[in-house]
């Protein structure tokens, strides 16, 4: 039976190896696809946060000077909206993805999966989204329901008439 797939026309590039794909295929989807093995507790997260994050985000994640991570729930429709992980982000999985790829700012990509899971657990706990005894892993993280999960709409523009 002939192969129905279209053949390459130019033949430039070379097949990617499994190892190459595995090394870069690190993003995490809302359904948890891409989450690595590992686990972290709220308590462990507090330790990692104090050591590697608090100097930028503040002792409780509220003080800054870098973006506030905690609080702001109920403020989005007010005169002073505060957009944080807890008030704004629709998916908890995104927090894993972003921390793992881009944080800490001075050493991006340096955290181990256990550390990232622990940080995610602690930040979500500080926001009142998970309980203090939560153990975060590839199974539990995608089940976290974020408060602003349904707070996003598609772009209706053009929306301003002449």
């Amino acid at each position: 039976m002939p192969d129905p797939r279209p053949a390459p026309e130019y033949g430039f590039g070379r097949p990617a190896t499994e190892a190459e794909i595995k090394a870069w295929n690190v993003e995490v989807a809302p359904n948890g696809e891409g989450l690595p093995p590992g686990r972290g507790t709220v308590k462990a997260g507090a330790t990692v946060f104090a050591k590697k994050c608090a100097s930028c985000h503040g002792a409780t994640g509220k003080e800054g000077p870098m973006p506030q991570l905690v609080g702001g729930q109920g403020t989005l429709a007010t005169d002073r909206p505060v957009r944080t992980v807890g008030s704004y982000w629709p998916y908890a999985t995104t927090l894993y993805d972003y921390v793992a790829r881009a944080m800490p700012y001075q050493a991006p990509g340096s955290l181990q999966p256990d550390e990232v899971y622990a940080l995610v657990a602690w930040i979500l706990f500080q926001n009142g989204i998970v309980t203090e005894d939560t153990v975060m892993d590839a199974r539990t993280l995608p089940t976290v329901r974020m408060p602003n999960r349904h707070g996003f709409v598609s772009d209706p523009r053009p929306d301003v008439a002449k």
Binding site: I21, R83, L95, A102, P108, V153, S154, V160
Partner: protein, 422 residues
Amino acid sequence: MSPTESPANPDRPERKPGLKRRTFLTGAASLAGLAAAKLWLTPQSAEAAKPKSPTVPDDPTKVPGSPPTPYGQRSAFERTVRLVVPSHSLTPLQDLHGVVTPSSLHFERHHNGVPLIDPARHRLLVHGLVERPTVFTVEDLQRFPSVSRLAFIECSGNSGSEWEGQGGASAQEIHGLFSTSEWTGVPLALVLREVGTRPEAAWMLAEGSDAGAMTRSIPLAAALDEALLCYAQNGEPLRPEQGYPLRLLIPGWEGNACIKWLRRLKLGAEPFMTRDETARYTDLMPDGKARQFTLVMEAKSLITSPSGGQRIRPGFVEIRGLAWSGRGRVTSVEVSTDGGRTWQPASLLEPVLPKCTTAFRLPWRWDGRETILQSRCTDETGYVQPTRRALVAVRGVHSGYHYNGIQSWKVGADGRLSNVHL
């Protein structure tokens, strides 16, 4: 240097309660705050760029001139520079001519610095819902049939300082996250045909090889018509700040979707919901809902000369400006010299290209009295650039991104121009 994401983030205002707007230093409106406080990092960058005072001969026809140099320099008399803070720089629109931005004055925005990349070692991985996961070198991509086109790139946070009140003072401070170049690369569609996309592929994750591994989900069908994988800008390889050696360009779309230092394209059935399409680059509406995947930059125009910070004298003044639309061609620009009471058609300078900047002109005679200058453009879809008031009435003042309201420049009796809101 401390991390700079928030204090220098031009992309979205994060107003802190209790602080006066001209004093707080976080968010988009900080462009104004920083400028007012003279905290731009110009000392280092601008001083370095400033030429030494040249020794000028009394008569240049009587002494031999300089020999050629391998890589040209501008005249020692030219001083125009970008305004710079750690995460971005702003194009000096009011000092430029024509529509093309010199590459060295193109605005930049990055999320954790400009990476140093050896093009010989750079790779683009295309995988996910494709028949043949493939690795391309830059040289591979340059072998494909190429396209060059003029297109603008605008940060979605451009002019964001104006949402909550009067922000910057000059065209550069308010609108400088906007530039235009000739871009050269291979059509994305050609590369995807080469790897064979699967029918269920509807989204594409584009990822950079910067320290933030900046990542956006791109709706594939909308991007396929025009997206380019670019390796050149204005005739030479991309500048490092513009994604050297490879970037995505989707003409007319917000700048951050045009991922720089591109290393990976992954096709998927759903959007990947990265931080930069959820926590950032979403527009918060007054009802607390936020718009997501607002990708196209709507029609906008701006009088660049005369503009904020400049001074005119009575008599003839040629009003000059720029207009553009992410949805296609600019079809007309109207200019008001009386604060919007009456409008006159400006002439459009050729070429008028889709999703590119169009220059406009209107001859004017200033009588020395206070007045307000404005421009508004219409694109080929019939969309008319809105007033600030109309824009705010629909979107409130907290959306942060995608500001395209009419710019008003007040001309004082002394001939000085300033930014005002009507």
